[in-house]
Symmetry: C2
Subunit: 489 residues, 2 copies
Amino acid sequence: MFPLSRLALMATTILTMTVVGCEAKDVPENKTVNHKVETTTEIAINPEIQVLADIALNGSHGYDITRSLTTQIGPRLAGTPQEANARIWAQDKFKELGFANIRTESFPVKGWARGLESATIVQPYPQNLVITALGGSVATPTGGIQAPVAYFENYEALIDAPIGSLEGKIAYVSGKMIKHRDGAGYGPANQKRRTGATEAAKRGAVAVLIRSVGTDTHRMPHTGQMRYDETVKKIPIAALSAPDADQLDRIFAMDTLNSGKIDKSKDVEIKLHLDTRDLGEKTSGNVMAEIRGSEKPDEIILIGAHLDSWDLGTGAIDDGAGVGIVMGAAKVLMESGLKPKRTIRVVLYGSEEVGLVGAFAYAKAHKDELGNHILATESDFGAGRIYAIQAGDTDANIAGVSAMAPEFSFLGIEPKQGDTNGGPDIIPLNAAGVPTVRLNQDGTDYFDLHHTPDDTFDKIDPQAMQQNVASYATLIWLASESNSNFRDK
Amino acid sequence: MFPLSRLALMATTILTMTVVGCEAKDVPENKTVNHKVETTTEIAINPEIQVLADIALNGSHGYDITRSLTTQIGPRLAGTPQEANARIWAQDKFKELGFANIRTESFPVKGWARGLESATIVQPYPQNLVITALGGSVATPTGGIQAPVAYFENYEALIDAPIGSLEGKIAYVSGKMIKHRDGAGYGPANQKRRTGATEAAKRGAVAVLIRSVGTDTHRMPHTGQMRYDETVKKIPIAALSAPDADQLDRIFAMDTLNSGKIDKSKDVEIKLHLDTRDLGEKTSGNVMAEIRGSEKPDEIILIGAHLDSWDLGTGAIDDGAGVGIVMGAAKVLMESGLKPKRTIRVVLYGSEEVGLVGAFAYAKAHKDELGNHILATESDFGAGRIYAIQAGDTDANIAGVSAMAPEFSFLGIEPKQGDTNGGPDIIPLNAAGVPTVRLNQDGTDYFDLHHTPDDTFDKIDPQAMQQNVASYATLIWLASESNSNFRDK
């Protein structure tokens, strides 16, 4: 019914696509470019996986689900009516797709609203800057804050500043994030977002501006959650878009352009206005549904994504794509007619962006059945192609995932060393001993869009979504049928 | 002093760069890519032009001037204090660079301010849209306008709607602009921007939203001047960013997704708020300076650019780059020690964006010397490389420019058929019989940034600026030395 040769050909095509990818930006302009690609590999595919792949690679379940969420709901910030609408959407969508045991589990979350926001260079060169408040930031006092700016080339330089040295000043923390396929530049670049306000306040600052944690060159500021130390004064913090950070850097360097040096003594003054509001306790929730297992229904294979998004975009790559991928993969398994032995549970977490609130709520609500959680993972790194499969950190987890890994090679997916926590919302489960797995996506361009107004549905490639859905459908089928429990005795 | 072999090699490199340009987006992903480039051409260069090219291609006058304008002034909307600051900047910069006859010629312009602006889909799927008012648009009434939306796939469809058919509605005009190297998609796409408000008002509409006239896929609305017909009711008009127009298109198609059709009967309601203000008469001005001709000082070679910009970006590609290119080219000629026979006049026009106001003011103020304007051109199409030289529409103009054209080939520039008006601000001179020439830039990506917040200095390639400056320096030298008057007797 699904001849092997046809799928083998499809697999070859996919592998070729991964190999070629002529990236103009990496090609020196005056060099001869010469790509030769051999495409003779033939890969045999397990017949059940053939069935799943044929449905996934020719269908559009994942893409359609993501389109529906990002269009019919749009932005869905934690604790807002929009996030509540997304929960209703999720319940309806699960029902429409034929899932079992559809339910929402509510939990409280701290509400926060952005409001109007603006920043203006008052001197030496008056002009507006494009900024956005970081999630959780306090507002500026009525009328805004106008103050001289202290320049720091990066987070480390801020940390090096003496206590008291920033009295009455706005601290500006520059520093670019490096682009990596696996997003490795995010952690280091993110320090200034997470704790910049506290560190600057300790030194006397009245507000903080950071260069956005992102890799694009557009006038798009990147928001994201920040944290206060409750023992330190809370000061407002906002992110500048990359071109605006470049502009501020240039202004500090304007008198020393030929040397390329920054003149930290330069008298730059900014007026900042953030109208954020703490809305107090609000309601959020996780929405979940299942394909019940035919032989071991109490054993759970959990695939998750998060339903909430930041307010600026429509949460397409973060994480509407993940929602489409995991719901779509389970739907493909249903359509295939295959009956998984274990239960497949799809969990759409609420309030991930503001601190994994839904993830901790799930771990708490399900603590008595975590021993039956066989394997857990989340799709939360955009809509790029999957290139690797990675296991958690125990011998049994590694052995179980390694046994499945060769079955993914027709999709261009190879085993990857190093353990995974399974994804952001899986961290509390991982901490409680639930085995994890991760299908690693190509995130080279992920931080161009992440947490910006530009995170919209048009950025998603339908073919990459098909490959993701095929990969997750393969994963849940293999994990359901596996003889392994993925955990050390 | 400037050995031929060195410059010939440089020219070869530039040509090669034009030929290669492996563009990933044009390469089918599963095809083998194989570029072979032969780079054996040797081009002899006129010794004076060698001198100019060596300074321009190894220097950064154009890039530095553009950096200074876009950083130290930033946005400079017609008739604002920022535009006035830009005139002071221009006078100071001309002086610093050693120009003669520096002067500003003032004229009145209608002032306009943007203010706060917002649009929200009220139903069926509540969410905010990213918009910006078109230049000159009236404000919405206090409290904004909330109304059902009438969908039009393009400007032609709006024109086809019967008079009275849009009573109480917001007209939404969709339709994508096509990308071309020469910007040929701009004219057709721009109809809805220019006269959309009047045509919709004639049919009873209360406001208009258009898909931005642009070619990007970012959350960046494109502003630009609109015009009212004084005999028709003035209604507010704003542009949606491309992703927001996609979103609105998807909402209209949401119930018919599988057919891909738009459901025009869909009940979509939007609330629009524009807080624009007519500021009455303000002052603008043209700033100009010269290199006086050594033999025929009354004969003028005019190279222009415009000093004003839209308010959203810092006017880097539109038209800070042009300002840097023409000022930089004249500075290169000064530095070379070559003495042009004719006068080189650099004109930085004010209030171009709002309707060529400075261009008409210049033509009026200089009407008595237009007979001595030998050749005129403007750099106002971004910072991309120049690929062609084009003449005006008379036999003498064509003959004069054709005689110079071969001298540009070392820069990768070839003659182009079809006449030119010389650039936007040269239109009134061209109409008065002044011969024109145009150095055509590659504008493939120009309309990605044009009139958006994203028009910032970081988008400019310093090497492309060098090639532009070298080209304009070559042009003014050759035009100064030419025996032609470029005009029919």
